[in-house]
């Protein structure tokens, strides 16, 4: 789950990373009361979860006299289609130099990777392609509590040593908050010291419970409903509903629909050992999506009982046509039950997807 900038900055501050003085406002008038703390120059930053926020008009400069008006202007905007409900109003830092630092997970070495660049403020992807030597990269053992000094020296190169404790604290954030990504871009030096001028933090969805997060905001309401039943679910924009077991097989079913020039409405993985009740909930959930007129059910596994799946489909009793492909225990019984109620069961996923395409057209 992605944290908003001000949430990430609160976490950073807890871990001893200096952040600019700032306040979150939800209406333009609120800024006035905080002006004495924020100095003469202000930065107003829309708290929306989009990349390239600055370019999209989500960050505005102001001073004491223009703060309220500028805030009003920012509240009236949509940033890449997202309305602005919260603004982080911050003091404008007297920046001397901007750097980039991030910590992420390197899948290849299975360890944390720290990236550092002598130029900050721009998107790292652009920086990396423009000049590969501009970005330095070190791998840190996940068994260590700190970035060892020799790796820190390699990372910083000629950059000021005063950045080191901030980067090490960011590594503590990364470990302590179960982060998939912890990023400061830009990390700035000023006459008063080092500051995280921006903050990005993505928490591992599998660690939300122990991080005390109860609601994953990255999910839509229907996606959360699906999560309650133990499904993995993603909404797409086509008209053919999909239910499968296993992420790979379900993805492959979506791809097959595209292969035959159709469009899937969703991804739904019911998980292992699906029983009547779970199948019924899955079918109802997919059938509730607007525009779905056919659903492909593609289940494969040694322990999936086809009679249970058939009963779940029948119990759901939904309007869209359902095409079933399943293999597993009690295949004949499942087929018999479905046939009695007029459902079609096909032998291969290719055949099932083709049949769904015909109905959809």
């Amino acid at each position: 789950m992605k944290l908003l900038e001000y949430e990430a900055k609160r976490v950073f501050a807890e871990y001893g990373i200096p952040v600019p003085n700032g306040v979150v406002i939800r209406a333009p008038e609120e800024v006035a009361a905080h002006l004495p703390d924020l100095g003469d120059g202000l930065v107003l930053k829309a708290q929306v979860d989009v990349g390239g926020r600055g370019k999209a008009g989500g960050v505005l400069m102001a001073d004491r006299t223009t703060a309220a008006g500028t805030a009003r202007e920012l509240f009236s905007r949509e940033i890449k289609g997202i309305p602005v409900r919260e603004i982080l109003a911050e003091e404008r830092l007297p920046i001397e130099h901007e750097y980039y630092v991030s910590i992420a997970i390197d899948r290849s070495s299975r360890q944390p990777v720290v990236l550092f660049a002598d130029a900050g403020g721009v998107e790292i992807e652009n920086m990396a392609s423009a000049d590969e030597s501009a970005v330095r990269r070190v791998i840190v053992s996940p068994l260590l509590k700190d970035i060892p000094p020799f790796l820190m020296r390699e990372l910083l190169g000629g950059a000021p040593k005063e950045l080191a404790p901030v980067i090490n604290n960011l590594y503590h954030v990364f470990q302590g908050k179960d982060a998939m990504l912890a990023e400061i871009n830009p990390l700035v030096t000023t006459a008063r010291g080092v500051y995280a001028a921006d903050a990005k933090l993505i928490v591992d969805d599998n660690a939300l419970a122990r991080q005390g997060v109860t609601v994953n905001r990255d999910l839509s309401e229907r996606e959360r409903e699906a999560e309650k039943h133990g499904f993995s679910y993603v909404e797409l924009d086509g008209s053919i509903g999909v239910i499968g077991n296993g992420a790979g097989l379900t993805m492959s079913t979506l791809d097959l629909i595209e292969f035959y020039h159709g469009r899937a409405a969703n991804f739904l993985d019911v998980g292992g050992g699906a029983e009547q009740e779970r199948v019924m909930h899955a079918v109802k959930l997919v059938a509730s999506m607007p525009g779905v007129n056919v659903i492909v059910v593609n289940l494969l596994g040694g322990i999936t009982r086809c009679d249970e799946v058939a009963k779940g489909i029948i119990a759901a009793g939904v309007a869209p046509t359902i095409i079933v492909r399943m293999a597993g225990t009690n295949e004949e019984e499942g087929q018999r039950l479905l046939a009695e109620c007029g459902y079609r069961m096909l032998e291969s996923m290719d055949a099932a997807v083709k049949a769904a395409m015909e109905v959809s057209e």
Partner: protein, 288 residues
């Protein structure tokens, strides 16, 4: 075959849980069928002295290994404690840990895998179906009846999609040496590179099917590392960016790891890429 043969002694961690109990029975049914040793002991803290389908239960891995000759463990421990279970196994001298558990926090997985490496313990998974070498051994939850012994290795990030491909191969008369699911998480112990290196050292294996999906670039890394003939399939060409497609690791992030560019790069290396699972047997025939 790779990772072990019928002489492999196996323990199951959290053998008293629903999945652990169920799959211990299936693993031992398979071992019985092929004349292998199978699961010789189980572990469940506080439950020493019990038996699960005739398999004795111990409180710790250390206790189990004191009484039984085993070098592999299949881990069914719940997500919050699974990282610890892997470290316990490695510390006690287990050489191969197969982690079935899904939803392990990624930081726990990184630590457990790094710790296991210090103890020369190979980790497969987490979030994987395990491995099956037809006629030799089965560690994990793969349905054995779909597979048949032969010369083609299968390595995959997925579970049921692997069964689909194994089913297609078997129906086409193409047997398998070992089928291994390396897991759908962003951080996994054995990657395509590791599994392919083992297949390369295995005299039985003549070609390998690599089944990948969106997220990361481990497929390309693996295929580049081997001299074996390889056929690939990448799931998720229709996956939208920034959405997690069921597996924690199946996500296109920052414009990286999408299936189409994976397919393009693999084809650029002259590697056959199947557009759908049913094309795989035909492509394998061409490289055998």
């Amino acid at each position: 075959m790779i990772y072990g043969d019928k002489n492999l002694g196996v323990i199951v961690q959290n053998i008293t849980g629903r999945q652990g109990t169920f799959h211990t029975e299936l693993m031992n049914a398979y071992a019985h069928e092929v004349g292998g040793r199978g699961v010789v002991a189980g572990v469940a803290p506080g439950k020493a002295g019990r038996e699960v389908h005739g398999v004795p239960v111990y409180n710790t891995v250390k206790d189990a290994l004191a009484e039984h000759d085993a070098t592999a463990s299949v881990v069914f421990v719940p997500a919050g404690a699974a990282g610890d279970a892997v470290m316990e196994a490695a510390h006690a001298g287990i050489e191969l840990a197969v982690v079935i558990t899904e939803h392990i926090p990624v930081h726990d997985a990184m630590k457990a895998i790094a710790y296991a490496k210090l103890h020369d313990c190979t980790v497969i998974g987490p979030n994987c179906p395990g491995l099956l070498s037809p006629g030799e051994c089965k560690l994990g939850i793969m349905p054995a009846h779909l597979a048949t012994r032969g010369e083609v290795g299968v390595v995959s990030r997925s579970g049921t999609l692997t069964y689909e491909v194994v089913d297609e191969l078997t129906r086409a008369g193409i047997g398998q040496s070992t089928v291994v699911g390396i897991g759908g998480d962003p951080v996994i112990g054995q990657t395509f590179v590791d599994a392919l290196a083992r297949f390369e050292d295995d005299p039985q294996t003549k070609a390998v099917v690599v089944i990948g999906e969106v997220g990361g670039n481990l497929e390309e890394e693996g295929v580049r590392s081997t001299d074996l003939p390889v056929v690939t399939y990448i799931a998720g060409v229709s996956a939208p960016p920034e959405k997690r497609m069921g597996h924690a690791g199946a996500i296109i992030e920052g414009g990286e790891g999408d299936a189409r560019s994976k397919v393009r790069r693999l084809r650029g290396l002259d590697i056959p890429v199947a557009s759908r699972p049913s094309e795989i047997p035909g492509l394998i025939r061409e490289v055998l």
